[in-house]
Symmetry: C2
Subunit: 702 residues, 2 copies
């Protein structure tokens, strides 16, 4: 037996260490002559981003066992535990950064989200329940209410004295919030709003805190006064009495067990002619006077609606960051295990091969690592933008629209990527990956709903596409329809002519038909930028041209024309989001100081960028952007980059900076290495002693 007692109790990952804490064994030749070295501590700091200090402090908090998920708890036990954990967060002040200074907060929007995102490592249920309480419920009071609401409600919200519900979604309306059925009809005689649920589909649904803990709610309803519907507004509604029973006029039920996040008591609410005071309207963007007359500083109902909803963008911001963290945890677990686990001898006499040395295993994990890096860097820029808008530093209409578009572009990509990565990591760890003790299945189950809540991913990408179309049409607005049509025609003719060659790139890159030369070109930052940018612009340009007749069609026919391009639009939006990530990654590479780290990050960025080109290779070929020969070299070059990155894989996940207290994954604890070492020592000793049984001789071949 190898003495492994000392290793087994020590946490494996050490934050800020410049060397991986794991013995990487003979195949991990990161330091062989000519190979660059990653400065793990510096890279860790870079990955932590603008609010690195907040994150480091948050990770001390999330390392505390009392905040951790206990796998296997019943839904009821889990709910009780998470509510108690919320009290720890409230007492600690961790969740108060975004609230006003005069109420005990620190007006720090970016830092607040950074700290909030880190909670995902403790328990995604804790994160999302905290998000419901302080982000959605508290955020709605803060952003949609006025001073009287702040003074009356925020202290109780911040302290968790008043757990609350963000009652927006209904059974019948999720993505289309403008069409919710709940009504708030003003009664001037009583100076009250009458809240009513007209039919079953208008029940509020999927609401965190609604099944059990919610004492009050910010309720969204159609505001009707003097016979006019002024659209969706938010109201403060008391839900339960001191005993936790619904007040008269309110009913509800439990959503019950879910695919994950079962520490949160999601539920349904319905209202039967419930009366609330006029002043319960959160009236920052619209108000009703005692006589029932409506007023708003924003005259357009549509713009008012989007302004109100826009204040809630922080949910999407934080999901983007949390999803990137979940991907990073999954890859830390799978790459650590893959660097220790051995299976099949692969040409060796005795020793089995480390599974991360198999090409397929690398192909499964390293491109996902590249994407996770891209998303981490993109998220930090996104968070800076969010902070600028919400702090008022840069808060024009354009800034808010850009922030919305960023949110709609990035949140879908990172949440889908997290699910994909958690699943691939789980499969890459085999049966061990399926055990709850190794965390991957639980994280995946919890993260699942991130793809559809706070904006369904497909719906969000469609919003991005519409914004791209608008920008595109503005670009050509001065040229008139004639010029646009000419532009599109010219483009098509150009493509037909250069059908087997290059179009846009013809000016910047010469294709000599040599694979080596092609590979060199694809490695250039400007070539990647051109390829990725051109694709988005061309796709949007083509769709815009095809949608052009819609303006002259009846509404139904125009909708049908739009619908016939919906899939292409969403694909274009996705490519736009990927381009944003690539740009963020490239900026991060450019700002990296350490030369060795910069080299490895450049490879990783190339892997991300060329991975996007490979994924859409048919498009580049069909549209004449890449010749067949050059296209073929993309995959060959990706294989080469992956082989180059392999020795740095552990450094690259160690740089995420998670400790075993965050990972809490048995297979990432060094236990697998202990087992492998013990088994290898056993066979080594047996061979040395001459006690090994002989292998049965195979019969001679005929």
């Amino acid at each position: 037996m190898v003495d492994t007692a000392q290793r087994s109790t020590a946490p494996k990952k050490t934050l800020g260490s410049t060397k991986p804490a794991v013995d990487t064994g003979p195949v991990m030749v990161a330091g062989h002559p000519g190979s660059p070295t990653v400065n793990v501590a510096a890279l860790n700091r870079q990955l932590l981003g603008t609010w690195a200090d907040v994150r480091v402090r948050a990770r001390e908090l999330t390392a505390r066992p009392e905040l951790h998920r206990i796998e296997g708890q019943s839904m009821e036990e889990h709910r009780v535990r998470v509510l108690a954990q919320l009290k720890i967060l409230a007492d600690n002040g961790h969740v108060h950064r975004a609230f006003p200074v005069d109420l005990g907060g620190s007006d720090d929007n970016g830092g607040n989200i950074a700290g909030f995102e880190e909670l995902v490592t403790a328990d995604p249920s804790l994160q999302i329940k905290a998000g419901v309480q302080w982000g959605l419920f508290g955020g709605a009071v803060l952003h949609l209410g006025t001073k009287r609401h702040h003074d009356a409600y925020l202290p109780g919200i911040m302290s968790l004295e008043v757990p609350g519900v963000f009652a927006m979604t209904e059974t019948g309306h999720g993505s289309d919030v403008a069409s919710i059925g709940t009504t708030a009809t003003y009664d001037p005689d009583a100076q009250e709003f009458v809240i009513n649920t007209p039919f079953r589909a208008a029940w509020k649904d999927y609401l965190g805190n609604a099944a059990k803990d919610g004492v009050a709610a910010v309720l969204f309803a159609q505001l009707i006064s003097q016979g006019v519907n002024h659209g969706v507004h938010a109201f403060w509604v008391q839900l339960r009495d001191e005993n936790g029973d619904f007040l008269p006029g309110i009913g509800g039920e439990d959503d019950g067990l879910k695919g994950g996040l079962n520490g949160i008591d999601n539920g349904r609410l319905h209202f039967d002619q419930l009366r609330i005071p006029r002043t319960n309207l959160l009236n920052r963007y619209g108000d009703v006077a005692e006589d029932g007359s409506y007023s708003s500083a924003i005259s357009s109902p549509g713009r008012r609606f989007f302004t109100m909803l826009g204040t809630l963008v922080q949910g999407r911001v934080s999901l983007d960051g949390a999803a990137a963290q979940a991907s990073a945890m999954a890859l830390t677990i799978a790459i650590t295990y893959g660097s220790e686990r051995r299976q099949f001898t692969a040409g060796n006499d005795t020793d089995e091969e480390v599974i991360l040395d198999y090409q397929r295993h690398q192909r499964r994990l390293l491109p996902r690592l590249a994407t996770t890096y891209a998303q981490t860097f993109a998220h930090d820029q996104f968070l800076v933008k969010f902070d600028q808008v919400f702090s008022g530093k840069a808060d024009t209409d354009d800034d808010r629209q850009d922030l919305e578009t960023l949110a709609a572009a990035l949140k879908p990509l990172s949440t889908w990527h997290a699910l994909d990565t958690l699943q691939e990591a789980r499969e890459a760890c085999g049966g061990a990956g399926f055990l709850a003790e190794n965390r991957l299945v639980g994280l995946r189950a919890d993260l699942d709903v991130y793809a559809t809540f706070e904006g369904d991913n497909n719906v969000l990408l469609q919003l991005v596409a519409k914004r791209l179309l608008t920008d595109y049409s503005r670009k050509f607005a001065h040229a008139g329809t004639g010029a646009l049509a000419r532009y599109v025609v010219a483009q098509a003719a150009d493509r037909a002519y250069h059908g087997s060659g290059l179009r846009t790139l013809a000016q910047t890159v010469a294709d000599f038909g040599s694979t080596a030369r092609s590979v060199g070109a694809l490695r250039e930052t400007n070539v990647q930028r051109e390829l990725l940018t051109d694709r988005v612009e061309t796709m949007i340009g083509e769709i815009a041209a095809e949608l052009r007749p819609a303006g002259k069609l009846p509404a139904k026919a125009a909708a049908a024309l739009f619908n016939a391009h919906q899939d292409a639009l969403i694909e274009a939006a996705r490519s736009h989001g990927e381009l944003l990530q690539w740009e963020a990654f490239t900026q991060a590479v450019e700002s990296t100081q350490d030369e060795g780290t910069k080299q490895v990050l450049t490879w990783l960025r190339d892997l991300f960028g060329l991975g996007l080109v490979e994924k859409n290779l048919a498009w580049y070929l069909i549209n004449g952007r890449l010749s067949a020969q050059r296209a073929q070299s993309v995959t060959a070059y990706i294989d080469r980059i992956i082989a180059r990155l392999r020795p740095h894989a552990l450094d690259l996940v160690d740089a995420f900076g998670y400790r075993q207290e965050h990972l809490r994954s048995n297979i990432a604890s060094g236990a697998e290495k202990e087992r492998q070492d013990e088994a290898r020592a056993y066979y080594r000793e047996q061979r040395a002693s001459g006690q090994a049984p002989a292998a049965e001789k195979a019969p001679k071949k005929k």
Copy 2:
């Protein structure tokens, strides 16, 4: 309120009905003039396949509430329930078809698997625990043991008097079974085998029935006698006494909570010099005499090993079928819900659009429906092959190898597809899809491990690739290396020449550069076959040429060369599996009698085939199989097929024949349609009465 009481209790899906039980509403114009009609009853029978009667009877069984999963049970409760359900199956005889007639079975291998697969609708835990007991544990006694073992053990196994463990996998060895560490050393003095676990990595792990219920085990260990290791053999080992306590020399622990399948008590076992009688060796393929001399009818240790493992192929067969069923259930739920759910008005004045009428929604669900059909038809052929081999009707070495290859090609594709489809279905149902009451999340959690147990999907595909390489090299064996080299060179030259045109298809299809003409060609069965077949053959041919030097290299260098092509090999194997599915689908279409059904199935098959071409479009372009113009028409044509299939979507899922007792999904019960109807009626009445509040007037545009 609309009176919906009657509908809400009636099961939605009616087996054998030629009309969908759901009112399809005005957009579902399946019967519009010129549109074909699907004969749902006949198609249902066709999908049920060769053992349709067994499946129909099994579905009566799986409709029984006492066999159903209760969502939200604790692991302990779930385990108790599933064990009790196993007793129902044993008493019912449902699981005895594969056992010998003289022991109360019916020697019906195909029917046994068909019936077993259907259990997935009741609870995947029930299915897999039944599979452990009667498929793996019982199957090992049946196939690896001899008469004395059959007589002694099979009755107790069949009746569940002796719940058992299939103890093959170890913590340290999953895919590489040949390298397990557990030893069974023969002691001629005592005429006993000594079972021993030499180190922690050799603990048996992930074993169903091991944590709690297993009384005995079929244990796999290295058989060592007279100083020679004869490789992995199976032994009968008693594990626990009447009190459920481990016998002396045996230890173990619980694997605890898993990502799914928590009705099964997976656990670990280890052995400390445990002595068992010599006759406990399951000695069909290898025996040890009293004096310790070893004998086997199969002289090659390698072939013996694969023969022994080959008897256990039924696990892969049944997972392939169960996965196809899970996909079918997911699509039945999502397409039913998508046909009732409405969101956004999309150009209508008042009525919201049914979400399945959105192009993106169709693109998400209908190609997956086509793949599920292909997998269902391919599975039936696979099951027929299995039945022929195991009944001895066609049981040559080649047959067994073909069966192994089929299993290794199909099981990965269908299990991955099930996970992908369950997830897409879950997201397509939004928040409702995340509730346990709608089944999708639970099924996905349970099916997760299907991708890595009974053969890791990536490892299986690599086996397929090796078989394809072997077949390929045999094909050219007579030609010698010279001819092969010339072949490869000729191929490369050909590609360079026809780089922007067609190669193989040049003979069969003229490309006139017209999109219409191209679309017509792609629709032809022979063109699809040619495109799909050519890809597999070319990929394998190219890899074979690149691997050719391996024969002359040292083992380590040869392994490195192979490893550098591992990813490409696995992709080729996947394409081979997809081709098999396409062929099975095509045969099914050809054997369809009803003309309307045949037309719709042809579209669905085209969607599957062209979807494969679209997925690999870059390959077809790079290799000159499709021109850029023709390639572009692939996506356009897929869009057209999807629009054509849309009106038949409900018929196509109804043809799977699941009733609400099988689906048990609230959102597929008609409840959503009730809610939508009620809401629409409310607004209709409000408009008719003149009581609707007016919309706030938008301000005039500047």
